[in-house]
């Protein structure tokens, strides 16, 4: 009885995760390596690894060669995510830095303002920008009044720039909070030491603050990069054109469109492998960093 006391707390939750996370993940593999019914175009999963067929995966991988359909989509996804991440960092880091280091009387208010976007649903925030970016929306009217453009710009008609802008707008709050938490934890006396040793604010920032927040930057970047790679709704809402489609849109097409779910499942596996590689790089960096700190302490 006593031996099973604590494990019994974990069993319902653990069982839930096995049945509704682990088994479903295997279902994707079974569908990807299964066959499909030629008449109804329904996938026939191969639950037994001995019955796996690799024809679908091979055709997906051949589309992943440079210049082919999925390659183009994957490259575009990487571009959008990389540019959005850079944009998020350029906006998010200064804000988090100011909040952590300088805001005093206004800090409480700023923190509340920072959290507000978390309580407004993501799609509500996208809805807000669709209203502003419509041909007769506020953005176009201001630009027309200023004489920057002579006719309304079609922001919502498949513009890469609009998609990247929306991604930055959507994900930057998720970056600022963890960055703020890291920057806030930096001991002020370390910064004062930098100052006392004759460093200018800029060199103190470059040699003290930035290295100390490096891991935080990495962690926060991973935090927003992973969901961005699977994002298709931002794209659908802001662009809706195949010219800007990302890997998430491609996967969504195979599942919500109905047919060729086995191809979709293969793409899910490819995406997961790519993300796993990125994650292991991140883990490698952080493990190495913590090993270095331990070493330097000895």
């Amino acid at each position: 009885m006593r031996r099973w006391f604590w494990p019994s707390f974990a069993f319902p939750g653990a069982g839930w995760l096995v049945l509704l996370f682990l088994v479903p993940t295997y279902a994707v593999v079974a569908v990807a390596f299964g066959t499909s019914d030629p008449i109804f175009n329904q996938p026939i999963p191969a639950w037994n690894p001995l019955h796996w067929q690799f024809a679908t995966m091979q055709s997906v991988l051949s589309e992943l060669k440079p210049g082919h359909t999925f390659w183009i989509v994957f490259v575009r996804t990487f571009e959008y995510v990389a540019i959005s991440l850079a944009g998020c960092l350029l906006i998010g880091y200064p804000v988090a830095y100011y909040l952590a280091r300088y805001a005093r009387r206004t800090r409480g208010l700023l923190l509340i303002l920072l959290i507000v976007p978390f309580w407004v649903s993501y799609l509500m925030r996208m809805l807000a920008w669709v209203g502003l970016l419509l041909p007769d929306g506020l953005v176009n009217r201001v630009l027309l009044d200023l004489g920057v453009i002579s006719q309304p710009y079609p922001w919502l008609a498949g513009q890469s720039s609009s998609v990247v802008f929306a991604l930055v707008y959507g994900y930057v709050p998720y970056l600022i909070l963890p960055l703020y938490a890291v920057l806030d934890r930096i001991d002020r006396s370390v910064l004062e030491a930098g100052r006392d040793l004759g460093g200018s604010p800029i060199s103190t920032f470059l040699h003290v603050t930035l290295p100390l927040s490096k891991n935080g930057i990495l962690a926060a970047s991973v935090l927003i990069t992973l969901p961005m790679f699977g994002d298709y709704y931002t794209n659908d809402v802001i662009s809706g054109s195949p010219r800007t489609s990302m890997i998430g849109n491609q996967i969504n097409l195979f599942f919500q469109g109905g047919t060729q779910r086995d191809v979709g499942a293969c793409l899910v596996i490819v995406l997961s492998v790519v993300l796993a590689v990125l994650m292991s790089y991140y883990l490698w960096v952080t493990v190495r960093a913590s090993a270095e700190t331990k070493e330097s302490l000895l």
């Binding site: 604590w6 494990p7 923190l111 993501y122 509500m124 807000a128 502003l132 938490a181 298709y232």
Partner: protein, 294 residues
Amino acid sequence: MKRMRDWLANPWGQPRLLGAFTWLYMVWAIVPVGIAILFSFNDGRSRSVWQGFSTRWWWGDPNNSVLHDPSLRGAIEQSLRLAGLDMLIAVPLGVGLAIGLTRWRGYGARPVNYLMLFPLVTPEIVMAVSLLLVFSLLYAVPFGTEAQTLGQVTFSISYVVIIVRGRLLSVGPEYEEAARDLGASQLGAFRLALLPLLWPAIFAGFIVVFALSIDDFVVTDYLSAGQSTQTVPILIYSSVRGTATPALNAVATVMVIITLLSVGLAYIVYRWTARSRPVSTGGNALNEIAAQDV
């Protein structure tokens, strides 16, 4: 020019530029939402051109207002129904898992620990696809509220575990040991010593699960059974590019109000219970939520 000289004289003073940038960011982050809310009161059908103030899209219009259009009201109800179910199931499961994993020193703890982390790093579309496939091919779960609840709970559990485990680690086993020494049974020590100490984290768990559920789009959409089980995010997604009226803004606004009210209320309740509790609760709810909500 004076600013420049000030900065040269004391480069360690307040960086005005950075402050201005921060405030500018806040305006940029929040004002568009404010404008969208404003447009729910537009007198015309446009969501982008202001045509005067009216409440027709809230209750005035006999067919298309939030109050009278069953599909709009249904979306709000479905969002709240799922949030309630998700909180009711995910929080107990997550709390149990957190306690079990912290106290259980067996062979099974480690793999479950890893398994628990995966839903946090899996992109939603991957989880949605896998649940869609398993529900249609292996389990006989009907799409709609049942499947949506199962899906939402699956991605919510891990967040509860992370929050509660943080609290468990900071509390330590001493209180329970004291209770055991004073003659409490194992279950008694858990109920009388540990559970009250975990209360703030459990509370934060409820709030975070509520927010996750209300905000969720991908999993909820993949597991929905058409119009009858669409939530507010699904409604926005499917009609924002069409000819939707400002009633759509009104529906979104209702959700914002409900969320802000419940969070505000939860915060007051939290502060109130924390004050009437003899044991210090450590950090405050705002920080706890801020640190966890991703």
